[in-house]
């Protein structure tokens, strides 16, 4: 049983743990474990769902898992609960489902938890090896990092690649700052990154991207600023400000092709004289993280 699965089993009630452990011993590449009230536990492994019919998780079991994940302190995890997920020790992401308590259209809490999905953290050290030469250019006395935008549809490994880039840039003795809005890059637990993002890396966990980037620029003086999924106009504006401030920005955005982004007027402020120097397009052609194209942009483009 690998360490990551053992970390997850610590949150499972003793009544289920033994049987689940025995069953999971026979599975490879476990990605998700799902618990639903009064339903069999299902495990997503090696690209297939394995339903474990002999282990039914009762509503009490689901509640016990939820309480253990919240460290018996729902008040301390309320912000995460409102977002629908909690990051646990080891960087594993736990999605929760139940009855939403809303006020004025805003989610205030999730009660009567009926479904829990534990996504096993997967850190791929070296996933950015193929593009690091394009991004990090050795100079006379130090390595120069070029601002790079990673484009891909969902589930193609953008976050995994950004995480590895953070680690590698940090290893070049660059001060790296990450705005980890959804806790996916560094997977902080009690403020400490559970993934290896390098020893020169500061993480602003859970901060809104635009405000977080401005805070880091003012407070941490980063040489490399990393953020995931630029979506809103505020995000674009903040990235643009960081780029024009001379900071190397490594970011990602959803898109199917490079042209989708380059021809979108909203993203124009990100390109040009002070904009991104490289664009990397990812796909799932040969599995998540397949590099389709690395395009160098001319400064005048």
């Amino acid at each position: 049983m690998n360490t990551r699965i053992s970390q997850i089993l610590e949150y499972i009630p003793l009544t289920l743990r033994g049987k689940l452990q025995t069953t999971m011993n026979g599975l490879q590449n476990i990605e998700e474990i799902r618990f639903r009230a009064d339903k069999p536990i299902s495990v997503f492994a090696s690209g297939k769902i394995a339903r474990i019919n002999e282990i039914i998780s009762s509503p009490q079991d689901v509640k016990a898992i939820f309480n253990a994940i919240c460290e018996h302190s729902i008040y301390a995890y309320l912000e995460e609960i409102k977002q629908g997920f909690i990051t646990i020790k080891g960087g594993h992401r736990v999605g929760i489902c139940g009855r939403v308590v809303a006020c004025d259209g805003n989610i205030e809490n999730i009660k009567d938890i009926s479904g829990i999905n534990i996504r096993v953290a997967r850190e791929v050290i070296g996933s950015a090896d193929k593009i690091i030469k394009e991004i990090a250019e050795p100079g006379f006395d130090e390595v120069r990092i070029h601002s790079t935008l990673i484009i891909s549809p969902p589930q193609c490994g953008k976050t995994t690649m950004l995480r590895d880039l953070a680690r590698q840039c940090s290893n070049f003795d660059k001060n790296v700052s990450i705005v980890d809005c959804r806790g996916e890059i560094a997977a902080c637990y009690h403020g400490i990154p559970q993934n290896d993002v390098g020893s020169n890396t500061d993480v602003l966990d859970g901060a809104p991207k635009a405000e977080g980037m401005m805070m880091l620029l003012r407070a941490m003086a980063p040489q490399v600023l990393i953020t995931d999924e630029i979506v809103t106009d505020c995000d674009i504006s903040a990235v643009s400000q960081a780029l024009s401030g001379g900071v190397a920005v490594l970011a990602s955005v959803h898109g199917a092709t490079i042209e989708d982004i380059l021809e979108n007027e909203r993203y124009l402020p990100l390109f040009g004289k002070c904009g991104f120097s490289n664009i990397v397009l990812l796909s799932r052609e040969n599995g998540a993280g397949t590099i389709e194209e690395v395009r160098k942009l001319c400064l005048s483009e």
Binding site: N67, A68, C70, E71, H72, S73, I74, Y75, A76, L78
Partner: protein, 173 residues
């Protein structure tokens, strides 16, 4: 003669000690209730302002309190930190049961504390502070009652101890 004097002296001292012991036991309830209230105040601070998870908040409380109350909060914190699937209520009841002999509390005090534990950790910070405030208010009322009883009976027990000692000595002589 000297032996009689020494024996009488020992009897009087012994009976006085028994009287003082029972008087102190009465005052101990009020003292422990006051300590619990102080512990709840610190717990409230740790939850409301520091947003600490329960096990950590309880451990900090245990560091700030003396004697049996400290041990109860420490044991509960350790139970919750262990990977044993215990609920908050289970951990509390176990900690109370372990120290029951050291606690000079009445059943009504224990019931109030158990009710507090049954709501601990579930709900948001407002719920938690409400739970703590209600429990602290109950304990405060119990403490006032305990102090009243102590005021009435402490002297009585001490006096009875001395008188009982004197009576035994007179009867023996």
């Amino acid at each position: 003669m000297l032996i009689r004097v020494i024996a009488s002296f020992i009897i009087i001292i012994g009976c006085t000690y028994v009287g003082i012991y029972f008087g102190e036991k009465l005052s101990l309830r009020a003292k422990q209730l006051a300590t619990f209230q102080s512990a709840l105040e610190i717990l409230k601070f740790n939850i409301l302002f520091l947003n600490l998870p329960l096990a950590e908040a309880l451990y900090k409380v245990s560091k700030s309190q003396p004697g049996v109350v400290s041990r109860i909060f420490r044991d509960m914190s350790l139970e919750l930190s262990r990977d044993n699937g215990k609920t908050v209520q289970n951990a509390w009841e176990m900690s109370i049961a372990k120290e029951r002999r050291e606690l000079n509390l009445l059943q009504e005090d224990i019931v109030a504390l158990n009710e507090f534990a049954s709501r601990l950790g579930s709900g948001d910070r407002t719920d938690q502070t409400g739970n703590i405030d209600i429990t602290a208010a109950k304990l405060s009322i119990f403490e006032s009652e305990a102090r009243e009883v102590c005021k009435k009976n402490c002297r009585l027990y001490k006096g009875l101890g001395i008188l009982a000692g004197l009576l035994i000595v007179v009867l023996l002589i």
